[in-house]
Amino acid sequence: MADTIGIWVAALLTLFIFSFLYKDNPLYKMAEHLFIGVSAGYWVSYLYQNVFKPNLYNPLFHQGKLLLIIPLILGLMMVMRLFPKIGWISRWSIAFIVGITSGYYLITYLQTNAVDQVRASLLNFSQINNIILVVGVLSGLIYFFFSAEHRGVLGGTAKLGIWFLMVAFGASFGYTVMARISLLIGRMQFLLGDWLGLLH
């Protein structure tokens, strides 16, 4: 019985959301607000159970990992936003996050987006695929060169680079659309199968 009610609620909410394809309407608004409210509540609970408790509360208060006092203090400083007079304290926590992020990703991105790509692009010209790949990388890189105006040879190469990028985006577009269609098929299977029982 509970399952049946659940399926009906899910199916009706799916249809309410689909009604957006026609135009904004009270049913969509209701589903939208319900979605936002429920998901916000869900994420609060999720973050408490899966982030705060296992990463901070349990190790600090049950396992005695005192080093975690530092993130606890940073977290409390962030909460200072709730008090307008001392809200500026939260900036320190934000600065910490931005600084750590920048430092961490500098090396990560340098490796994955630069050095590893260079290594993978150092190919010999014995195959036509290799030539296309290397020309695509070089021209694409020149497109992202900001220090010189794209004129003359540089401009021509940059234009070739953007053509390569657009071809890649076109392929990616088709691939992703297929993936999105599979999401639609999943919803249709739910409506026609689980809800209406027309599919077996």
Binding site: I17, F20, K23, D24, Y28, K29, E32, F35, I36, G37, V38, S39, A40, Y42, W43, L47, M78, R81, S90, I94, I97, V98, I100, T101, S102, Y105, L106, I107, Y109, L110, Q111, A114, V115, D116, V118, R119, S121, L122, L123, N124, F125, S126, V134, L138, L141, F144, F145, F146, S147, A148, E149, L165, M166, A168, F169, G170, S172, F173, R180, L183
Partner: protein, 400 residues
């Protein structure tokens, strides 16, 4: 010839009587399983078992190497497995920690505790008999300060940082640094101006990832510039976000922009508001806001996933000028299709410098361009060398 094979050979000579041989032959025919039981000679043990702390790691690992049993692939050729045994005292007791197939000559034990001495033995099995190597010398794992296998990364980071610091210092010294025109950014003024003329809002969507993603940080930098314009023009700005930390940072950014433009009184916290952390809940909420508020300009600047097309299509349907920017390759096609202007990949990161003309940001872009110029040179040189059959150069760029 292996010891086992020789011993087996001696066994045959000792038992060389014809009736006995006939009897054994009879047993072979009668039941193959009996024949297996006849193999009572163990394979020769692995030799030169060496254990050492795994180099260039963060501790917690000891590497073992040995020379294969002479019955592994050669000799009797009946080795089926190597068994790794470990103890904390030389005399034992030794516990099996893993079993490796025939042919193995190396094993990395990643279950060690740093600072604890371990002794290892490597046993070899032929399925029936087992023989053990002598124990290794005592060894303990520890963390190394440097991973020398990542020296190339250190060098690359150092060169890039040096370039950035150099150009920042030049920019601070008043040197004019040129950055080429970025089409999408020239339209920012136009978009905000249009919203002002129409008396409608400007929406800014800073992506769906948290502040630990550089795209979000880049997006918030652009938000600062957009907020300055909306403050100057007296246009309403709305920034719905899906991460609490991003909300806090975006509020700070917008507040500062309003302060810098001389309109602190026009700022209120409601400009930046939280919807939900859920990806599609957020998309549904922003879609609804777009339809009801009908903004004249929408900026999508940051990291996006599947919601990109949902948002951009809705924005298009309300007739807004849309300027997107992301470094997510799978979402760029959707923004290019549905938006008026799109900042592709690194253009997003260059945008802040382009808009603000701030020396630090400009110097940073110039430093990165130096890095790209070096990469172009390396690629050109490397491809020529590879084509000539010289492969050593490319190995310099192998990372771990």
């Amino acid at each position: 010839m292996s010891e086992k094979l020789r011993r087996k050979g001696r066994g045959c000579r000792k038992g060389g009587l014809i009736p006995l041989a006939a009897f054994i032959f009879f047993l072979f025919l009668w039941d193959g399983a009996w024949a297996e039981d006849l193999d009572t000679l163990p394979p020769s043990p692995p030799r030169e078992v060496t254990a050492f702390d795994t180099p260039n790691d963060a501790g917690g690992s000891i590497t073992l190497t040995w020379r294969k049993s002479t019955d592994d692939g050669t000799g009797a050729g009946d080795v089926t497995a190597y068994i790794i045994l470990r103890a904390e005292r030389k005399e034992g007791p030794y516990k099996e920690i893993t079993k490796l197939p025939a042919g193995a000559v190396r094993y990395e034990d990643t279950t060690t505790k740093d600072g604890v001495d371990y002794f290892y033995k490597v046993s070899v099995s032929d399925g029936v008999n087992i023989s053990e190597s002598p124990p290794s010398q005592a060894v303990h794992s520890k963390a190394q300060w440097f991973n020398f296998k990542r020296l190339n990364m250190l060098l690359a980071g150092f060169i890039l940082s040096l370039g950035i610091v150099y150009f920042i210092s030049r920019a601070r010294a008043g040197k004019e640094l040129y950055i080429r025109k970025i089409a999408g950014l020239d339209a920012v003024n136009e978009a905000v101006g249009r919203a002002t003329e129409m008396g409608r809002k400007v929406f800014f969507i800073p992506g769906i990832l948290d502040l630990d993603d550089v795209q979000t940080i880049a997006g918030l930098s652009i938000l600062g510039q957009v907020a300055k314009l909306t403050a100057e023009y007296g246009t309403k700005l709305e920034v719905p976000v899906c991460r609490s930390v991003v909300m806090v940072t975006a509020r700070e950014t917008v507040k500062e922009a309003y302060l810098d433009s001389g309109h602190p009184d026009a700022y209120n916290d409601e400009i930046v508001h939280y919807l939900t952390d859920d990806q599609f809940g957020y998309a549904a909420g922003v879609d609804g806001l777009m339809l009801r508020e009908k903004p004249a300009a929408i900026f999508y600047q940051g990291a996006f996933y599947a919601e990109s097309l949902i948002l951009a299509e809705t924005g298009f349907s309300v007739g807004a000028i849309q300027i997107a920017g992301t470094a997510m390759p799978s979402q760029l096609p959707f923004f290019i299709t549905a938006c008026d202007y799109t900042l592709i990949g690194e253009e997003l990161f260059a945008a802040s410098a382009y808009l603000s003309r701030e020396p630090r940001a400009l110097g940073s872009i110039k430093g990165q361009d130096l890095g790209k110029a070096i990469i172009l040179f390396i690629l050109g040189l490397g491809v020529v060398l590879e084509t000539l059959g010289i492969t050593g150069f490319s190995q310099l760029f192998t990372t771990q």
